[in-house]
Symmetry: D2
Subunit: 345 residues, 4 copies
């Protein structure tokens, strides 16, 4: 039943290297034919160590390679749309890091191209593959939670990125909350239907430079409405000094599923002062490592068995649409309907 699928990878930065490493270790049937990266010189030693057959600084070499059946796009966001289109036109299945593009119209065009070429497209929302969140989603999907009424997502980073990064990040809603827009849709699934409306409250509470220089917010509290009338609540902060805080909850007519933070060990220490436990993980790679592997395994399996990807192009589109609605809501301090964005251009 297993079959070997030759792939090409575009972009060998931190996330590209992570995927390559995971594939080499865990998915021997994904054979890496070629890796493209502009910084080809600094790549040579690494490629040799990992026995990468071919490297190039020209992405077109990947699309032109007739052996390559699928492409992983891990290059910078501004290249995603172009590379998806080229890969699709070359008839290759595609895994692309989020987001597809900041522009909703561009995304729609890209998805049309994907559809015309009848290739698969999976978007890199890795958190859908997290063991905790997947368990909650399964309890929703199985009906054990009943009709979902309230979805809650807490997502806080341990420390803010540099101001220079924030300036080009597209803002909190596109850079950080983007995962939560998708998580809200993932957890609700067909039980809640799509997000229909959003109200976003936000502020600069962590570092005033994020506002004054970055022209962004660092903290938000958001409420969403779903088609089924259910609601979601998301809160984000750029700085949780105690670590990378990642929790979700779905409350429904038959029960509630609550996912807590992972801890580095299960030890409790009782002394004269208090009972203490070690801090939660600080770094997102540490927290989500397994989910990065599992999303690529899932991509492999959907190619091998000709299934639909678990996270598809529409998911990539909708996360950006909701982000835009949230941005509009924040700016105008009013609830914004998703249709204002979705069909609003």
């Amino acid at each position: 039943m297993k079959k070997n699928i030759p792939i090409g990878i575009i972009g060998a930065g931190r996330i590209g290297k992570l995927h390559i490493s995971n594939i080499l270790q865990n998915i021997p049937d994904f054979s890496i034919e070629i890796v493209a990266d502009i910084a080809i010189d600094s790549l040579k030693k690494w490629a040799e160590l990992h026995r990468i057959k071919k490297i190039t600084d020209n992405p077109q070499d990947v699309f032109d390679n007739p052996d390559v059946k699928a492409v992983l796009i891990c290059s910078s966001t501004d290249t995603h749309a172009e590379f998806i289109e080229k890969a699709a036109n070359a008839g290759k299945d595609i895994f692309c890091e989020k987001p597809i593009d900041p522009d909703v119209k561009v995304i729609k065009n890209v998805l049309d191209t994907v559809e015309e070429n009848k290739v698969k497209l999976q978007i890199g929302f890795n958190r859908r593959f997290d063991h905790n969140f997947k368990r909650v989603r399964n309890l929703v999907a199985s009906g054990e939670i009943g009709d979902p009424h309230i979805v809650k997502i807490t997502s806080r980073d341990p420390a803010p990125p540099p101001i220079d990064y924030i300036k080009v990040s597209g803002g909190l809603f596109n850079d950080m909350t983007i995962h939560d827009w998708d998580m809200a849709r993932y957890l609700g699934g067909s039980q809640t239907g799509e997000v229909t409306e959003v109200y976003a409250m936000g502020g600069v509470l962590v570092d005033e430079k994020i506002g004054s220089e970055g022209n962004d917010i660092d903290t938000c509290a958001v409420v969403l409405r779903y088609e089924n009338g259910g609601m979601a609540m998301i809160d984000n902060s750029r700085q949780a000094v105690y670590g990378y805080d990642q929790r979700v909850e779905v409350f429904g007519s038959k029960g509630v599923a609550i996912a807590e933070n992972d801890r580095p060990n299960n030890v409790k220490f009782y002394n004269e002062k208090d009972i203490s436990m070690d801090k939660i993980p600080y770094f997102f790679l540490e927290r989500y490592m397994q989910s990065y592997t599992d999303e690529i395994v899932s991509f492999y399996e959907c190619l091998r068995e000709d299934k639909q990807p678990v996270v598809d192009g529409k998911d990539g589109l909708m996360a950006v649409v909701v982000a835009k609605a949230a941005m509009k809501s924040l700016c105008e301090n009013r609830p914004v309907k998703i249709t204002e964005i979705q069909f609003g251009f």
Copy 2:
């Protein structure tokens, strides 16, 4: 240092009897001089059993009794304002169940009377005395949490009341969320300052009759803004089939304090199927019993030591003001500033 304080009680329904029972058991220095209730006949046997000295069906007897130094008002909501004023004019200190009145202007007049007579007024927001919530508040007040950025309150009832009750309840925001408006103010304290703005999303997800006959909602997701720029998020449901769900969280610049539900015991049972624990308490009296005792102990202590009550008239006023703003927000589907209500009549 201890001294005996004679008191009178108006209203011996469920909550009145609860306070009387707690006083008899735990606060011997509150001597119950007189109890007034309209249903005096059904009260006689109970009063005898509990060795209540005097009962009456005329509340005026309480105000006229020169021995009585303080009054507990546990009668129906529509009598609160009148009885507070009478007690204040009679020079007696007052403990009154929430809410003071649904009408903001009425409350303001009542508070003026209280102030003129220089008597004490404590409002029955018992949850401020809950062991979990008090611990969270203490961590905020001590500065250990730093500047509060996000306050989260989950409050879900195990089952909705009868539709007939809902019709006269004043609506979800006055009947159920009223505790959470106060909790948001309590947890934030002087660290966040007052609530300044509210956006309320709500719906009928539990029982459509609550909407069609009760003209109310049964589920809500609310975001609040504080003076310091911090935010609060409240969610309510009339029906959590798994029990009485009562949790809070305060996230700040130095850490986060998370209060989970109490469980009836600490036993974990592992078998071939899963790991299971007993359900959380179903009934609010079971969950908050100790807090009902502690609020009366606190009232006794503030009389004995001539201190300000932990929950005062302004707290009673502000909970109703925020409820009104939330109601306006829900009806007009827009964020509403507290000043629109506070000074808006």
Copy 3:
């Protein structure tokens, strides 16, 4: 169905006063007719405050009082045997604090007297009524745990008593482990049958004076064998600096039930250093308060409904028998069969 039962109480020290207070608050149908204590003078004010009808310094007044149907014996251990016999001969039902007597032969005589007079005898092993331990026992009794294979009991005091107390305490096994001998029998119940053999390891690790002056040990690790072949493990320490550590576990063919410590609240505090929770209760009354009430409620119910006590004379006997076997094991450093003690005199 309810009926009033007049009782007398012998001994109004800490534990006697606790029972009286619990009865006054929670069991109105136990009417306290008379209280006997040698220190009658210091008792008068307290008795008046609690509206005790009659006090005496002569225990015989209790036995002679024809109204008194049941007696609570809360006096010092050396008087238990004598008072149980007198109460039994006077035809009164009996609740007696543990232990009945340090001498197995004396206990057997006492139990014969109780049986001849066909009165009820309940022993004050309050921990059987603890919410956590009762839940574990129920899981065993219902068969949900299957055949019990391993019972584990952790019982550690927060701090050792004064050396002078230790000198007259009867030693760790009679003073502290006495509860655990009973707990081992309670948790196993008919599923394990009786304890048949014991091996006790012990040492002086907390305070050398406990050994040199008290002639006792302060720490022990004990294994027991049950009739069904299952085993129990008990560990004790006179000093757990982090609080009063009280946990049990029953492992069987179908699963395991684990009872953890109660905590004063459910708050977790995450900061830059660690995740912390408040310490567990320090004091045994704080930890077991509810169980003290529940054991007296249970005694009342067994009188009212003419049922067997949950903890009876045989339970009182066997705890002392196992303690003696453990003492012999420790001294001779070998496993000791219970029959060596049980029938060994």
Copy 4:
């Protein structure tokens, strides 16, 4: 600082393949020169897939290979002693799976050979590298727990092995408890000193064939004494139907550290019936996978930096010595001093 170390591996069964896989993925500086296994034919395809340079069915090829600096011995237990001696005489550092040999005298001879050749020897007690147990050990080693008084180890397998396996396993104490004898020594460390005495209670409670055909026990409760006077308690079962139960605890003069079971996710599901969580892992490889990697990383580091192994030959010896003492204790139903075994031949 990093340097490449060529190694050879003897035995490519389940555990040998696991180590090879971990090395290929995580320790690129351990270059696998040669793998020896008697079943060379079934190995060829696997070796090719994993790019193993050389395979042989003659272990001597490994010892004779001048490039090989270190050897991993993963063959059957009866070959360990011989292969360690050969490797030592060939001047190669050694990692050997536990146990070295069932015979204490044989082990001592082996350790002499190792010492004479001044090579390193690490024994495969992987649980020392487990994240939970290591955290507990660190709290002991740092002095935060104070003087250790009671060490507790719970180790229960999910299901018994086949009777045919049990017959040749060397018995529960050598096959299963062997990890716990080491764990007791590891957790106590220099704070407790060595184990000095053991009393073992055991029985056949899971499957009578384990007794009648396997001539073994399937359940045990053991107490150990340390040099410092502290005690350890170990319980084992061949069958915990709820999964692979692995917990430890160290109680000392300054506090207690308690390591609970790992769970597959952190989700709690509340419904009308109870609160439930997913079962703990069933399989030892799933539970201890990271520790298998970490022990080899540790071995690599001790070679690279010329340090002493974390688990050395003496640790291998002592686990077998304690197992023998426990066996003697079980047979003779009396506490047995370690010196009876250690110097008793």
